[in-house]
């Protein structure tokens, strides 16, 4: 059998650190795992939304009379009617930034509420205007098409470079302009220009992306007497409950939010959506289960999007190759709203500090409202953007200095003498940034070894006549698991059958929470991995939680599991000592020692003893621990990549890909590898293919998967990995997050490789994605 079966007593081996088999993978692979759409009750009702077909307009009228009498239609609800019962959706409580952060960064933020259904105006294509409930989805869509909306179209804000000009229309009429967020980060003094300095000034663009999950969003609301259960494909069940109750005025005690299996999240599902309010409201109103399953068109037009930046940067380097100063003034198109406002804009600023000695830094970040789809974080959330512009600037500086890009990085990267490294700048959680790493130079060296020069030389020699091979590196920082205001709870119960039931507020959207939490609990309790049963995504089971985002699940909820399990051990010991009238009971491998020769009470025997002793029924012991780390812990890494570029078509093939990173010890190395490989695949997508586009009127041009292109297996090479462990002192497990490591430096590394490949054409990539059309233009310019 698999190696994770109970170790015989005396040969106890920890589960943490081993690549044990995932305990939830069977149902995901054999199709028995249930997603929201698999839960539909036979007799339930289906909702279809009427969505805006224009990006900016006054609503002159919404005529539902024809739709209301169509076959199967149970209810048609307009924004005007809903607004009499339900408040607009407001940003969540934890989106507020800490005081120290606000002050230091001179933060300006204008969070907006969102009407659950549009009332008098629409502000992006896809905005929900009305909803039809019918006996099936086909009939609901037929009726939705029969709703007549009378628009008075207005000029839309769609060009980020012009959105802050005086001539631009304003998306939110109560604001003076389209500024959503502004923040500044200053460190050191900017030097006077001198002739002995190399100055690299550039403008970079990062395309808008969708955080495309295989399963779209979906909500199933089931009324049950006074209570209601809301199933949602979300990363943040607790925040869904919070915003649903805030909008409806419902008592949170009457609302249970649950997540079934979630088929990918990546950040967009860490937003809350008006559908998660409208559908439960309809279910209570109608007294019947109501379902809405997002289709792909809705997914690509209304699920939150991300990136979409313009950066103006200036990197100053002295003649010896030492970084002198680094400036970035950037704009982030936040679309019509963003529940987290500061999130991505702030992450970009903080990660622009980089993995290097840069004494002087000036950053201004501005989030801008537009008439595009709302935004949120998408895997990386500001970090890929920061890595792209800093690493690109370093490549350009290396070219000016006439040295290898990797060499210039070596000269400036933080080494053992620099680390831990205090930046003198607070993180978003209000605590001053200290990189808790060991030696980033070693990571760079390791990454270079993953795709060695001789191998790249061989690829160059083998290339076809029209192909050129290039090599690039990208360095990244990844702050993981924000502290102290963002806790997670874990509840650990000893069941009467001697098994541990673990529940957490954060759960998987494909990741292996249930496996790694079971590993942690099994080690802490010194019991078999198979005897730990983990449940996630149920607001009834734990008192407090936020969700899975920002590479926090393992660190924050994992630590809570550790502490809650320790409490279970302690409580069980206490109870056993009491029950047996003996203080000599000890916690040992597999259970507890008891007086008498060689007597070991297994967990099952202990549970049975306590249960029959009348101390408790089932569970026998029930403990909760709520944990928050003191602040972020930092993962750092380097991507090294070799590409081939077809000089006649501008098409890029990724030939070799390596990721070396310095992070905490792995709970489960196979899970960590999977996280990074998946991230790299998405990183390749962002670098080469993915691009959400709107025309100047705000019409989406990438609303199907024939237009929004994501990488396929044949576009992703084998990915070579190297893990360098440096335990964190900030949590009891010594771990660091890795959820975003794979995606952050992909665009930077691939751009470097493309520049290298096309050096003879003088190509300098300054934007993502590096499409065939874009590179063909650069090659043609180079030929002229």
């Amino acid at each position: 059998m698999a190696e994770h079966r109970s170790a015989p007593a005396g040969q106890e081996q920890p589960y943490v650190g081993r690549g044990v088999e995932r305990n939830d993978i069977g149902s995901l692979l054999d199709g028995s795992g249930a997603f929201v759409a698999d839960l539909l009750p036979g007799a339930g009702l289906h909702a279809a939304f009427v969505r805006s077909s224009v990006a900016s307009a006054w609503l002159r009228g919404v005529d539902v009379s024809a739709a209301a009498t169509m076959p199967g239609v149970v209810r048609v609800l307009t924004g005007a009617e809903l607004a009499r019962h339900v408040q607009p959706m407001r940003p969540p409580a934890n989106s507020t930034s800490q005081d120290r952060f606000r002050t230091f960064y001179d933060l300006v933020s204008h969070p907006r509420s969102v009407p659950c259904l549009a009332v008098d105006e629409v502000r992006y294509v896809g905005e929900p205007i009305a909803v039809v409930v019918a006996t099936d989805r086909y009939l609901a869509e037929d009726a939705a098409h029969a709703v007549v909306v009378d628009y008075a179209a207005r000029e839309a804000v769609t060009d980020l470079s012009r959105a802050l000009t005086a001539e631009s229309p304003v998306v939110h009429r109560d604001l003076a302009d389209n500024t959503a967020v502004r923040l500044c980060l200053a460190k050191g003094e900017l030097p006077q220009d001198g002739h002995d300095l190399v100055v690299i000034e550039e403008e970079f663009r990062v395309a808008r992306q969708a955080g495309l999950s295989m399963e779209g969003r979906g909500v199933l609301a089931v009324p049950d007497g006074e209570r209601i259960t809301v199933w949602s494909s979300t990363q943040v069940p607790f925040i869904v409950r919070q915003l649903l109750c805030a909008a409806t005025g419902w008592d949170p005690q009457t609302v249970r939010v649950r997540t079934p299996e979630v088929g990918g999240g990546f950040g967009p599902k860490a937003s809350v959506y008006v559908e998660e309010i409208v559908v439960p409201w309809l279910a209570r109103e109608l007294g019947e289960p109501v379902t809405w399953i997002e289709d792909r068109y809705e997914n690509l037009t209304t699920a939150t999007q991300a990136r979409d930046n313009i950066h103006r940067t200036r990197l100053v380097v002295d003649r010896d190759g030492r970084f002198v100063s680094w400036e970035d003034d950037y704009l982030v198109d936040l679309g019509v709203h963003n529940l987290w406002m500061v999130g991505v804009v702030g992450n970009t600023a903080m990660h622009l500090l980089g993995a290097y000695r840069i004494p002087n830094v000036r950053v201004t970040g501005t989030g801008v409202f537009s008439n595009k789809t709302p935004t949120s974080q998408y895997r990386g959330a500001g970090r890929p953007e920061a890595s792209f512009v800093l690493e690109r600037s370093i490549d350009l500086a290396a070219e000016q200095l006439g040295i290898q890009p990797a060499k210039l990085r070596e000269l400036n990267i933080l080494g053992p003498d620099d680390l831990p490294h205090a930046q003198g700048v607070p993180y978003r959680d209000g605590v001053d940034i200290v990189y808790d790493g060991k030696d980033y130079g070693r990571v760079l060296e390791t990454a270079l070894d993953l795709v060695p020069e001789r191998e790249v030389a061989a690829l160059r020699a083998e290339a076809a006549e029209h192909e050129r091979v290039g090599f690039g590196v990208g360095v990244y920082m990844e702050a993981t698991a924000r502290g102290p205001a963002e806790p997670e709870s874990a509840r650990v119960c000893l069941r009467r059958d001697g098994r541990l039931a673990v529940a957490t507020g954060t759960g998987p959207s494909g990741q292996a929470h249930k496996t790694v939490f079971a590993q942690i609990a099994a080690d802490t309790a010194r019991m078999a991995y198979d005897d730990v049963l983990v449940t996630t995504g149920d607001t009834d089971l734990v008192p407090q939680g936020l969700g899975s985002f920002a590479s926090r699940g393992a660190v924050v909820a994992g630590s809570a599991v550790r502490y809650a399990t320790e409490q279970v051990v302690a409580a069980t010991l206490d109870a056993l000592r009491h029950a047996l009238g003996h203080d000599a009971v000890e916690h040992v491998a597999g259970g507890f020692s008891a007086p008498g020769p060689d007597r070991v009470l297994t967990w099952a025997a202990a549970a049975e003893l306590l249960a029959t002793g009348g101390l408790a029924a089932d569970p026998v012991v029930d403990q909760v621990h709520t944990y928050a780390p003191p602040t972020v812990t930092w993962t750092m890494g380097v991507h090294a990549v070799a590409v081939a570029v077809d000089t006649e078509t501008g098409q890029v093939r990724v030939l070799r890909y390596g990721v070396a990173h310095e992070t905490g010890p792995s709970i489960n190395p196979r899970v960590v590898d999977g996280q990074i490989r998946g991230g790299v695949a998405q990183g390749i997508g962002g670098a080469l293919l993915e691009q959400v586009q709107h025309d100047s009127a705000g019409q989406p041009l990438s609303a199907t998967l024939a237009d929004y292109l994501v990488p396929e297996t044949s576009d992703v090479p084998d990915i070579r990995l190297a893990h360098l462990d440096e335990p964190s002192r900030l949590n009891p497990l010594g771990i660091k997050g890795v959820g975003e490591s794979g995606i952050i430096a992909s665009s930077a590394a691939i751009a470097g490789a493309v520049d290298d490949a096309l050096a003879e054409f003088g190509v300098h990539v300054t934007r993502t994605p590096m499409t065939s059309d874009y590179l063909l233009e650069l090659i043609e310019e180079g030929r002229r």
């Binding site: 006649e648 292109l709 063909l776």
Partner: protein, 295 residues
């Protein structure tokens, strides 16, 4: 993304199907075969027919006849089958092109007749039919059977000469002469996507390892496949290794109407590379097949 209301007809024979098409002449009718292009259009409600005629029961359209001169392929033969023997050996350019259609799951459903009747200008199979000078067999209850040369069948984007009551029932493809070399090159963002530009070429041998016939077709650069073979005629009578394929490709692409936008201009650049490579592949295979060129 659910199709709107539609009347579904499922005839059991070609004859019944033709009757259905005749009787529904006043309605907006779409014939559905593998559904790989039509289903998304129905789901997006971009196509809203009154009547959908499902030919999934017409097994008589799943046939393959190999004659000494020509091959007849029934309309319901799946793309997957085009990539396999015996067609792989008989019509290698068809097999290679069909391998670029979508992915396995799509090729297992999509049919040759469906693809040709759909007439997407970026699709592979219409271009192959033009290249091979195929004849498209169309049948109707009113006019019987007619054969339309592929070059005349495709009239514009998603437009063909198929009449409202006609069913595309088969294609007749002349077998290429022994020793014919072919080239197929398409550029798309990912494997299986519709082409941004593509080219197909055949070079047929005559006496003395000289080119007796040369054909070149471009696709995804105009509203239908473009036969630019006249620009390859300069190669006829020459040995492949004597030909300046780059100049021939240049002349062929230069003959297209001036690009209307940057998208089209980029497609032309890709078409140039595709044409050059397709001709070179054809030349390489031509030589390889003869095995004694230069004698």
């Amino acid at each position: 993304m659910k199709p709107g209301p539609v009347t579904l007809r499922r005839p059991a024979s070609v004859e019944e199907c033709l009757d259905v098409l005749r009787s529904e002449r006043e309605a907006v009718v779409k014939v559905i075969s593998g559904g790989q292009s039509l289903m998304p259009l129905l789901a997006l409600r971009m196509a809203n027919p009154d009547v959908l005629v499902d030919i999934g029961r017409l097994d008589e359209l799943i046939h393959l006849e190999v004659g000494p001169e020509a091959v007849t392929i029934g309309a319901r033969v799946r793309h997957h089958q085009l990539t396999e023997e015996p067609l792989r050996s008989l019509l290698p350019v068809l097999a290679e092109a069909a391998g670029h259609i979508g992915h396995t799951a799509i090729r297992n459903r999509g049919t040759i007749g469906g693809s040709l009747a759909h007439a997407d200008p970026a699709a592979e199979l219409p271009a192959v039919m033009v290249l091979l000078g195929a004849e498209i067999e169309c049948r109707s209850a009113s006019a019987g059977t007619r054969l339309v040369p592929a070059a005349e069948f495709f009239t514009g984007p998603y437009l063909t000469t198929l009449a409202d009551d006609e069913l595309l029932t088969a294609v007749h493809v002349r077998r290429p002469g022994s020793g014919t070399g072919h080239g197929f090159v398409e550029f798309s963002p990912r494997h299986g996507d519709y082409a941004r530009a593509g080219a197909l070429a055949t070079l047929s041998p005559g006496p003395g390892s000289r080119i007796a016939a040369a054909r070149l077709v471009l696709f995804a650069v105009a509203n239908r496949p473009v036969d630019v073979s006249e620009h390859v005629e300069v190669a006829v009578g020459a040995r492949p290794e004597e030909c300046d394929w780059a100049s021939i490709a240049q002349a062929a692409v230069a003959s297209l109407p001036a690009p209307i936008d940057t998208d089209r201009a980029n497609r032309y650049r890709l078409a140039l590379a595709a044409a050059r490579r397709a001709l070179r592949h054809a030349a390489d295979r031509f030589a390889a097949t003869r095995g004694h060129h230069g004698q």
